[in-house]
């Protein structure tokens, strides 16, 4: 099941043609999707031919095919990784049983909720990024933005397929609702907080793709372990696409840092105002953006203690990150995990049952992964001979969810008073002045090979094309 059938209206490798009911349901949904794309997809991009990566099959030769395509004509469709006939549930209470090809009745509500929540994030980020094309710092970056947009669109398809195929009428209703909610809408917002935040500028976009798409990686990786095999295979394939999004974030921030470091060395200064005057983003602002996106994103993993997380795991719906590579019993009963709480003005650790702490486990895996990437950004500074280092704030900083919600905390992890918080807030999180400054730098640069002054060119082009390749042809 690897080559994707493009002759059908909806490209797929799941023999859609053999399931007429489902095919009709999806064909009914498709025009609404296109309308949604036209309404809130990338602004002013309809006539561009974009150098996009498209999957023609799900094996390595096929899933990364490049060519100029109009985004509207991108092959949005349904691609599942090849299955393994012998796959078994490898964690939780059903360990050792055959994986499920259909949704077991008792897990229906939970699985639907998981899929809807994941599905809701995909169109949300397209909506959040809608205006960014108008201020792209280069044609190369514009292309990367668009690649992310179409893949988020396809990820929505992936979740809608699962809903419509496996959840009957409820599933169809949920699929419709995914196109009705809108990011930031006061009356009908997206489900998760971070997906209603604005992505006002490209620094925010890079931070978002670095941190928040990495949340996507960890959530998808946990779902790729699922006993519900269609979900596991779908998310496995989504993961291969998600990697590009994180690349855009990591290399984007890295290029901003590289450019700032270069100007700091040229001007021999670390004075933020001088650096700003030279048209670059000072390291303090970068650190504040980092603090904001990091803290908002780690909230996405949910409460630090959650009985839902325990149920999802024990019933085999959602595993841990790299479940197969861990060498414990994969049942986790009677084990404990340390979570943070505040007692008498002090942060303390306490042991809670591991199963209830699985959100925290996933959050900690995410943190480890994020931190090592921040280390790679610091290498850029190190190489440029600049002593400043970036760091992620404390896990309890600026949290809105779980036991740490609302606690006032400095980035270093010191509990602070309301007064101190109010006084220091703008040192720790981006201020309206920071946003205004970064916004002032955003102007559109789209000549091949040219870059805005606040960002360095990439080390290499996409798919071994030169950096000044015509990634977007404006129609």
């Amino acid at each position: 099941m690897s080559t994707i059938n493009y002759s059908e209206k909806i490209p797929n490798n799941v023999n859609l043609g053999e399931d007429r009911t489902l095919q009709r349901a999806l064909e009914g949904w498709q025009p609404n999707f296109i309308n949604w794309w036209d309404d809130v997809g990338p602004e002013g991009s309809t006539n561009h031919d974009v150098y996009l990566r498209t999957a023609v099959s799900v094996d390595p030769q096929g899933w990364a095919q490049f060519g100029h395509v109009k985004m509207r004509d991108y092959r949005w469709g349904i691609f599942l990784n090849p299955g393994d006939a012998n796959r078994e549930v490898h964690f939780g209470d059903h360990k050792g049983e055959k994986v499920w090809q259909d949704v077991p009745g008792e897990h229906r509500a939970n699985l639907r909720r998981i899929i809807v929540t994941q599905g809701d994030t995909e169109p949300a980020s397209v909506e959040q990024q809608r205006h960014l094309g108008l201020t792209a710092p280069s044609m190369y970056d514009l292309r990367n933005l668009f690649q992310i947009n179409v893949e988020e669109g396809r990820h929505l398809w992936a979740m809608v397929y699962l809903l419509q195929k496996h959840f009957g009428r409820d599933g169809r209703e949920e699929a419709d609702a995914l196109l009705q909610r809108t990011s930031g809408d006061a009356n009908n917002p997206r489900i998760l907080g971070a997906f209603n935040e604005k992505t006002p500028d490209w620094l925010a976009f890079f931070m978002f793709t670095y941190f928040t798409d990495r949340d996507g990686k960890f959530q998808l990786a946990a779902l790729a372990e699922s006993a519900f095999d269609p979900l596991a295979r779908t998310t496995k394939f989504m993961l291969t696409e998600e990697a590009h999004h994180m690349f855009v974030g990591e290399s984007g921030v890295s290029r901003v840092i590289a450019r700032t470091a270069q100007v700091m060395n040229e001007l021999k200064t670390d004075d933020a105002q001088k650096i700003r005057a030279a048209g670059c983003i000072d390291l303090g602002t970068i650190q504040r953006y980092l603090n904001f996106h990091y803290s908002v994103t780690i909230d996405l993993f949910g409460a630090d203690q959650s009985s839902n997380a325990a149920i999802f795991y024990s019933s085999g719906l959602k595993g841990r990150y790299e479940e197969g590579k861990r060498d414990d019993d994969h049942v986790l009963k009677g084990q404990t995990y340390k979570v943070l709480e505040v007692k008498e003005g002090q942060l303390v650790e306490k042991d809670v049952p591991m199963l209830n702490a699985l959100n925290e486990v996933l959050r900690d895996d995410f943190i480890k992964d994020s931190v090592s990437g921040v280390g790679r950004w610091n290498k850029v500074l190190e190489k440029a001979g600049i002593p400043t280092r970036l760091s992620v704030p404390h896990k309890a900083f600026n949290r809105q969810i779980g036991a740490l919600a609302g606690i006032k905390m400095s980035p270093e992890g010191r509990v602070v008073s309301e007064v101190e918080w109010a006084a220091k807030r703008d040192e720790w999180l981006p201020s309206s002045e920071d946003f205004a400054f970064v916004a002032s730098l955003m102007g559109r640069v789209i000549e091949p090979g040219k870059f805005a002054g606040w960002i360095a060119p990439p080390v290499m082009g996409i798919n071994r094309q030169p950096v000044d390749f015509e990634y977007v042809r404006f129609g």
Binding site: M1, S57, P82, D84, N86, T240
Partner: protein, 426 residues
């Protein structure tokens, strides 16, 4: 292709730790599990990577497309690579010399493994890159292929039901025709696909041997029609690419199997090197040595179809190279196929008293017929065998096209886009 080894030099595959974002795509993609990681780096095992390039285009950063000429004995270990913060520079000619590597052999290692990126970066003039013309899509009329039913982590078992020498007995480079039966285990394959065999035991560092790939030599309905079996064409590796004696782990294991033995199999692999099904399509097959396996499969399937009256004039043309006639697998059976069924051209590079002839020489001799086929949208070209033949063959096709007044860029791009030129070299 196997990691290129020439006079103790390899072109080692490395990941640039400064650009890699540790996204795991390569590790999830690599068919032979050559990639591993720790909290710090992603790294490639030099002794496992076979340079198949499957990881190159899925990598979102390009960091995985790095190659260094290294004396084999000094190849970077994974332990070393895991500590890197940046990629080491190429060894200088002096360092290579000091390690006993001559300039000429370093260049020899360079050529075959040169990747598109390097070619593009280093060349002032565009370098001819044969791989760029190979299709990644199957012909439109190909049957549907299943892949990875048994991934490397969960092999299945097959029983050996036949094993005999299909070259002339007594030659070092003997090649075996091996038949494996899957019993009731589903293992559907098409002509052009390959399977992996996992040799028993562990390698020098105590790790389970990785699987070696072999092309299926039998047609889709089985070596014995109606049975769940496949055949392979396996050449015993008794010397390495430099000509020094070695004992290839898997090929010797397979060639020595007895009827009744069981083997661990992974796969099937491949979803584009597939034959067209429509009855008027032409197939041009160009191969050396065991590259004949998929060609035998396609020829045999056409022969079976023809016998049952299902064929309408699709042409078969074969260019087959070996050092000597004695080394040609299936030489006898090929000779007895009717001339109006298949147009066979043999090239021998080491026949005593005769000039060396390679498949590309034969192709140039048959330029008129090939040009006609290049002009016909129903023609499909398949190239399989040793890596070193690939460029020469595609260059020969290009020259044939040019001489016939065709624009190669158009023809080549069309062949690729339409899934009509397939390259599988190792």
């Amino acid at each position: 292709m196997d990691m290129v080894v020439e006079a103790g030099v390899i072109k080692q595959h490395l990941i640039d730790p400064e650009i890699c974002i540790r996204c795991n795509t390569c590790e999830a993609t690599c068919p032979v599990n050559a990639i591993t990681h720790d909290d710090n780096n992603y790294v490639v095992r030099a002794d496992v990577c076979n340079g198949c390039m499957a990881c190159i285009s899925p990598c979102p950063t390009g960091s995985i497309d790095n190659w260094r000429t290294m004396p084999l004995v000094r190849a970077y270990t994974i332990e070393e690579q895991l500590t890197w913060e940046e990629l080491p520079a190429e060894l200088s000619p002096e360092e290579l010399e000091a390690a006993g590597v001559s300039g000429a052999s370093a260049e020899a290692a360079e050529a075959p493994a040169q990747t598109q990126a390097q070619a593009a970066a280093e060349a002032t003039e565009p370098v001819f890159n044969s791989a760029q013309y190979g299709a990644s899509v199957p012909p439109w009329s190909a049957a549907h292929a299943y892949t990875n039913l048994f991934p490397p982590k969960t092999p299945t078992t097959a029983t050996v039901v036949g094993n005999f020498n299909c070259t002339e007995a007594g030659f070092d480079s003997e090649t075996h025709h091996v038949v494996l039966d899957f019993g009731v285990v589903p293992f559907p394959v098409l002509e052009g696909q390959s399977i992996g065999i996992v040799p028993p035991g562990v390698d020098a560092i105590g790790k389970r041997h990785h699987a070696r790939q072999y092309s299926v030599a039998s047609p889709r309905n089985g070596e014995r029609p109606g049975y769940n079996n496949v055949s392979l064409t396996v050449k015993r590796v008794t010397e390495d690419h430099e000509g020094d004696p070695v004992r290839g782990v898997c090929s010797n294991y397979v060639c020595d199997l007895k009827v009744g033995d069981t083997v661990q199999v992974v796969g099937p692999f491949g979803s584009s090197f597939l034959m067209p099904n429509h009855p008027k399509s032409h197939i041009v097959m160009i191969c050396t040595g065991t590259g004949s396996a998929p060609m035998r499969a396609m020829t045999e399937w056409r022969r079976r179809l023809r016998k049952s009256g299902k064929f309408e004039g699709g042409k078969l043309m074969l260019f087959f190279g070996a050092r000597t006639q004695q080394e040609l697998p299936y030489f006898g059976p090929l000779q007895s196929l009717p001339k109006d069924f298949i147009d066979i051209n043999f090239a021998f590079s080491r026949t005593a008293g005769q000039p060396k002839r390679y498949v590309q020489d034969l192709m140039r001799e048959r330029a008129a017929d090939l040009a006609a086929l290049l002009k016909d949208g129903a023609s499909h070209f398949y190239v399989c065998g040793l890596k070193s033949m690939e460029e020469g063959v595609v260059l020969a096709l290009r020259d044939v096209a040019k001489e016939a007044g065709l624009d190669w860029d158009t023809v080549g791009a069309g062949l690729k886009r339409e899934g009509r030129l397939h390259l599988e070299t190792y």
